[in-house]
Structure formats: C-alpha cells, structure tokens
C-alpha cells in the first residue's frame, strides 16, 4: 500500500486510479498526486511556494 509522503500514513487508492489523479490523505489531509499506477506511487500535489520549507 502506498504511503503518504507527508505523514507516512497508509493511503488507499482505488484500483481504477489514474496517473495524475489527486487523492487526499486520510490522516493529514494532504493533497496527493498519483504519479505512478503500477506500482502505485504518490507525490505531494501542490507546487511548493517560494517561502516553503524549514
């Protein structure tokens, strides 16, 4: 099962998921983009803003 890159939670993605689809993480609510379907891979959806990060 793919993990949320933001919070490490297990994310269930429907079998009919398509590349580029946006799903929400059930734990942290992050918007995730399905970047690969076989095997399933997820990445954070929004473009990072200029002042993001530590």
């Amino acid at each position: 099962m793919p993990k949320c890159p933001e919070c490490d939670a297990d994310v269930t993605v429907g079998v009919d998921a398509v590349k580029g689809e946006i799903v929400a993480c059930p734990d942290c609510g992050a918007e995730l983009e399905v970047t690969e379907t076989s095997p399933l891979a997820l990445a954070l959806a929004p473009e990072a803003e200029e002042d993001w990060g530590e």
Binding site: E6, C7, D8, D27, C28, G29, A30, A48, E49, E50, D51, W52, G53, E54
Partner: protein, 290 residues
C-alpha cells in the same frame, strides 16, 4: 509537574515531524491544541485567546510563521521559536550578519543590488561562487556560478524573470566541502545530535536526496553550533555547517527544523528533547508573569 501547560501547535499540515511531536506530548499527557494556520484569524488589537500557554510554531510557510509569531509575541504569548529567531533565520543575509556580529565563522559573503555590482562581487570572491535567494529552502534556486558566462546568464535571468526579491544579490564564496555538510540540532544550550548529509551533488539537502549518516558531536562542534544558535536568538534550531579547508563554517540556521530522517541516524529522541524544552520554556514564562 503539578499543572502542565497547554501546548498549542501552529501548523499547516500534520507532517511526520508534527505527528512525532504530538505523540510525544500525548505520551506525557500534556494537553495540546492543534492550531491550523489556514483557519487562523489573529486579532491584532487584542491578546489572541487561543486557550494555550505556549505555541510551538510548525508552519510550512515562512511568511505565515513569521507574522503569526509577531502577533503572539507582541501580546506576550511565549512561542518556540520566537518571532526574532524566525525573522533572522528566514533571511540568509540577516543570519549572516548575526553570525558575523557574534564572531561565528561563516563563508565570505557579499551583498549587491544590481546585476553589474553582483558580477563585481562574484569576481572578487572568485569562481566558483554561490548565489542564493535571501528567502528559500530545500536547496531551491541556489546556483553555483562556475565562470563569467554563467554569472551573466544567471544574473540576467534573475533580473528579468525574478520577483524584486531576486534582485537582492546574496553572493557567497564556494566552500570546497568534502562531498557532504553537517546538519546539527540545537535545543536550548545543547547540540543534541548531528548528521552528515552526503551527496554527489554540491547541494546536499536531504530534501534533494542527500543521504544521512551519524556525525559525532565533538565539544568543538557543540560550541560552534550553540554559538550560532545564540547569535540568532536561541531556541530549537538546526545548523548547517560546511567543513572548509580552514575549519568549520556555519552556513545557515533553520528555525522550523525537519528531523524525520535524523532520529534513527543520531539515535537521539529529537521530539522528546524538543518537548522538554517547550515545557521548560512555558514554565519559565509562567514564573516571569507571576
């Protein structure tokens, strides 16, 4: 502790770090309140009634952190970190000047306001030189300028395509580091742990694929990092150190530190140390008020 303070965590999302902090607070039965920065309305002219004794700032966005902390601190609400620390650390030039003020070794740096002056600054420092945006992170938009052609091209791009802030040119000597840098975690008066970040790329951020390995905290490293932390105002900060040919140099200080890859590597319970510090800060603040 007889009456545990209520700890607010100001955040944008519950990332791994925030989850670990919340778990640590929960383990100690500390009452906590999650404050979502997307829903927050801060009244400027009244003390914000958040129902917490202290706020731990964990926003992803620097601007949100900065302005929220300003309102909270102005109204006397203790925060980790403080507005001052966020203000200084969020800006590479302000950080550099604090390090220089306090005699903490840091790479040679030049400030310029036009592409022409920036070219002069780069040539004074010699190639390769490094250009960085004043505000930014995760190694983004940082350039290693290898020759004059590259300098002219990068400066023209920044001038034409960048926002105004990209025309404040922060130029630094390139430090020929040994394929890695050091990320050290300071909590209060102690460097609690450190990692090496190694990469084939000259930018070694773990957000960019740098690999973490344990780095021993020698008395020298501890001293350097604690001095850097104090220079920016102190608290819970992560220090980037470059190993130069003449000794270690403090590159920058991060105030909303990311530590998910460093707990196993250092063997240090980083969230535990952070929570210790937060509770201690809350206790002291309460004492001062009484």
């Amino acid at each position: 502790m007889s009456s545990a303070p209520t700890v607010g965590i100001l955040l944008s999302r519950v990332r791994v770090e925030e989850k670990l902090l919340l778990e640590e607070l929960d383990r100690r039965s500390v009452p906590t309140k999650v404050i979502d920065d997307r829903e927050l309305v801060l009244e400027a002219e009244r003390k914000p009634d958040l129902g917490v004794d202290i706020v731990v700032e964990r926003c992803i966005q620097h601007s949100r952190a900065l302005y929220a902390l300003n309102v909270l601190n102005t109204w006397g609400i203790p925060t980790v970190n403080t507005f001052e620390v966020a203000d200084i650390c969020g800006n590479k030039l302000l950080t550099t000047m604090r390090l220089i003020r306090d005699g903490v070794p840091t790479p040679r740096t030049r400030l310029a306001f036009t592409p022409e002056a920036a070219t002069t600054a780069i040539e004074e420092l010699g190639y390769p030189a490094v250009l960085k945006p004043l505000v930014g992170s995760w190694g983004r938009l940082i350039s290693k300028v290898n020759d004059r052609d590259a300098a002219e091209s990068i400066l023209e791009h920044k001038d034409v395509l960048g926002t105004y802030m990209h025309s404040i040119y922060y130029v630094q000597e390139y430090v020929p580091k040994p394929g890695r840098d050091i990320r050290a975690f300071v909590v209060g008066d102690e460097t609690i742990g450190a990692i090496y970040r190694s990469s084939d790329h000259w930018i070694t951020n773990t957000a960019r694929g740098g690999k973490a390995a344990r780095c021993p905290v020698t008395p020298e490293l501890n001293d350097l990092c604690v001095r850097a932390a104090r220079a920016v105002g102190g608290g819970v900060v992560a220090i980037d150190v470059l190993e130069g040919p003449e000794g270690p140099l403090v590159n920058e200080v991060n105030y909303t530190m990311e530590f998910r890859n460093s707990i196993d590597t250092t063997g240090v319970n980083i969230p535990g140390k952070v929570v210790d510090f937060v509770l201690e800060t809350a206790r002291k603040a309460k004492q001062d008020q009484e």
